[in-house]
């Protein structure tokens, strides 16, 4: 009995513990690899000589190494650079404006002395419960707002997200009311209080929500597919989508731009190289931004 009382660190008891450790590690490693391997497969495929893909198909390790696909992409990068510029501009503008509007809205809703805050909260929240569906929304944008083929339509639809407003609001609820009250006594206006006092205090939440918004813009292809026909406004993901589905068009564009004399284009490795170029930036920053997303989900999971 008394021997039982020596405190043990968790994870060190005996047989069953070992069994769980072994099974657990195997399962975790298997599923984790399952998440990672497809990326390696795409990378290898993009680095494989086209003729070897045609002969043996895609492989996990390049049997004949070649940089041909990347050379071709970067030799005539006109459309690719354009697409990159569109995506970067949309992401920057959308994230900055979206973050500002999200936090400003959240602050007004978080003010406990604001009589109508529950009414407004419900006004926003209701849009997540019921929607008019795709058709009226589409007609609204195309016929009434006339936003087809504009930069604006790539930014506007995702500018505000009710869920982010709610997360931001619950974060602001944890800021003591005394701060707002004492500033009011000093005669500061509501907007100035938000700008000068509240924003600096919500930096962690701003970083998290900002990254969520940015990721949404970076990965958006849907709005481009619906509303963009002008090549100069084609964002990266949609450009990739078009390329995957339409290599012939791709070939014609390359021939037209004088890239290649005729049809010898390594289409299969090119598709994969294009995919790697599209996710490259995400993979590069991923190790640094991951923890913000984890934090965001943790706040979301234990939603107040």
């Amino acid at each position: 009995m008394s021997a039982q009382l020596t405190s043990k660190s968790p994870g060190r008891t005996g047989r069953d513990e070992k069994l769980l450790q072994i099974l657990g590690y195997i399962l975790l490693a298997a599923i984790s690899l399952f998440c990672l391997v497809p990326f390696i497969l795409v990378l290898s495929s993009s680095l494989t000589e086209e003729s070897s893909i045609i002969k043996d198909g895609y492989q996990l390790f390049p049997s004949v190494f070649s940089l041909e696909a990347y050379k071709l992409l970067f030799e005539f990068p006109g459309q690719l650079i354009k697409a990159y510029m569109v995506t970067i501009s949309v992401t920057v503008v959308g994230t900055v404006v979206g973050l500002f509007l999200t936090s400003m809205t959240a602050y007004a809703l978080a003010r406990k002395d604001f009589k109508w805050r529950n009414g407004f909260s419900f006004f926003f929240f209701f849009t997540t419960l019921f929607s008019g569906g795709l058709v009226p929304w589409y007609l609204m944008i195309v016929n009434y707002l006339q936003l087809k083929d504009t930069f604006l339509i790539l930014v506007l639809p995702m500018l505000l997200n009710v869920f982010y407003i709610i997360v931001m609001k619950s974060f602001m609820n944890s800021i003591p009311d005394a701060i707002t009250e004492s500033a009011k006594i000093d005669g500061a206006g509501d907007f100035l209080i938000y700008l000068r006092l509240i924003l600096p205090l919500t930096k962690p939440a701003l970083a998290t929500i900002g990254l969520f918004i940015a990721l949404g813009y970076w990965n958006d292809w849907y709005h481009a597919m619906l509303f963009i026909t002008n090549e100069n406004l084609m964002p990266l993901q949609y450009y990739l989508y078009k390329m995957l589905g339409n290599m012939d068009g791709m070939r014609k564009a390359m021939v037209a731009s004088g890239a290649v004399v005729n049809l010898q284009i390594p289409t299969e490795s090119l598709k994969m190289a294009m995919t790697i170029v599209a996710i490259g930036p995400i993979l590069l920053v991923y190790p640094f931004i991951q923890r913000y997303f984890v934090k965001g989900l943790t706040i979301g999971a234990v939603k107040g």
């Binding site: 039982q4 009382l5 994870g11 657990g24 399962l27 975790l28 490693a29 599923i31 984790s32 690899l33 399952f34 998440c35 497809p38 990326f39 497969l41 198909g57 895609y58 509007l101 400003m104 809205t105 007004a108 809703l109 003010r111 109508w116 407004f120 419900f122 006004f123 849009t127 419960l129 929607s131 008019g132 569906g133 795709l134 058709v135 009226p136 929304w137 007609l139 016929n143 009434y144 506007l156 505000l160 907007f191 938000y194 970076w218 990965n219 292809w221 849907y222 619906l226 949609y238 990739l240 989508y241 995957l244 994969m272 599209a278 984890v294 989900l297 943790t298 979301g300 999971a301 234990v302």
Partner: protein
């Protein structure tokens, strides 16, 4: 500033109201006016008349939609896929979260979490490219492997029967990291005293998982599952569209309400029928959310949506 009543309040809150104005306008334009636009389902759309000026045509659009023979198929597919996603994704996520908590520590937990979370960060377009790399008849890795073992290649993009499995696996693949982190957050907030007490009582690790961790997770699981059930008639358009595209051969097993509405609008330009299908989806979705929320309320008032 001592005026009473509504006007007084307007003056008093003028700055806060101005701060809310952009968001209010945004949701009026992109959510509330389209909501009113749901009346299109009962109209014969004309470009001159627009959403609100087109002539009524009663239930013609609905008749057309239900007689097309697709209504039942897309409804069934949407609901069944979502049920499969909810069951498989949650089971996998909970398992991973428990293992991350019990088995993996410090660096290994970080490493596994990083790998699991990766698929969440890429767009469905990229997932579509990865799928092509695996499933392509001529070059896909699956057929390369089958070939190595001397088996016949399979034509995945032309065989509807494979797709329910593929889509469930892809959905699990993309969501596993996201959900594991959610559940891990819930597990780490369980009172550690319970674990210490169990340790003193000599509980082994499996008893700890099944008697403490899982029972404590159940409330979170029930809430999350109920909330997903509320969205059972909303298909993940990006996933279905990028995995399947406009491949008619697969529609019997892969067409969901969202892809059906999209196609009726864009390729056949049938605004009437796509509005009717959209109306049907909105009403069905709204009803399910209300029911799911009612159940959550009965179960735990604080976690309900409203």
């Amino acid at each position: 500033m001592n005026r009473k009543g509504f006007l007084g309040d307007l003056v008093k809150y003028r700055t806060l109201l101005l701060m809310l104005l952009p968001a209010v306008l945004f949701f009026i334009v992109f959510a509330y006016i389209p909501m009113a636009g749901i009346v299109l389902a009962f109209k014969q759309f004309t470009y001159e008349g627009g959403i609100f000026g087109s002539p009524w045509n009663g239930l013609d659009n609905f008749r057309f939609f239900f007689e097309s023979g697709q209504a039942w198929q897309v409804t069934r597919n949407t609901a069944l896929y979502n049920i499969a996603f909810i069951v498989v994704n949650n089971l996998l996520q909970i398992t991973m979260a428990i293992l991350l908590f019990e088995v993996a520590h410090k660096w290994s937990r970080k490493l596994f979490q990083t790998m699991l979370f990766l698929p969440y960060f890429i767009s469905w377009v990229v997932v579509g490219a990865i799928a092509y790399n695996l499933f392509s008849y001529d070059f896909g890795l699956i057929n390369v492997i089958l070939n190595t073992f001397g088996m016949e290649p399979i034509d995945i993009y032309n065989t509807a029967a494979y797709w329910p499995y593929i889509l469930v696996i892809v959905s699990a693949w993309k969501a596993v990291g996201y959900g594991s982190i959610m559940y891990l957050a819930a597990i780490t907030s369980i009172d550690t005293e319970m674990y210490e007490a169990a340790e003193i009582d000599g509980a082994n690790v499996f008893q700890r998982i099944f008697r403490i961790t899982i029972p404590n997770l159940i409330p979170t699981v029930i809430i999350l599952v109920l909330l997903s059930i509320g969205n059972i008639f909303r298909g993940d358009f990006g996933m279905f569209y990028n995995m399947v595209g406009n491949n008619g051969l697969l529609f019997s097993n892969t067409d969901v309400i969202d892809t059906f509405v999209f196609r009726s609008l864009t390729s056949s330009n049938d605004i009437g029928m796509s509005s009717a299908a959209g109306f049907y989806q909105s009403i069905l979705g709204f009803a399910t959310i209300l029911i799911a929320n009612y159940v959550v309320r009965r179960y735990d008032k604080d976690r309900a949506l409203f």
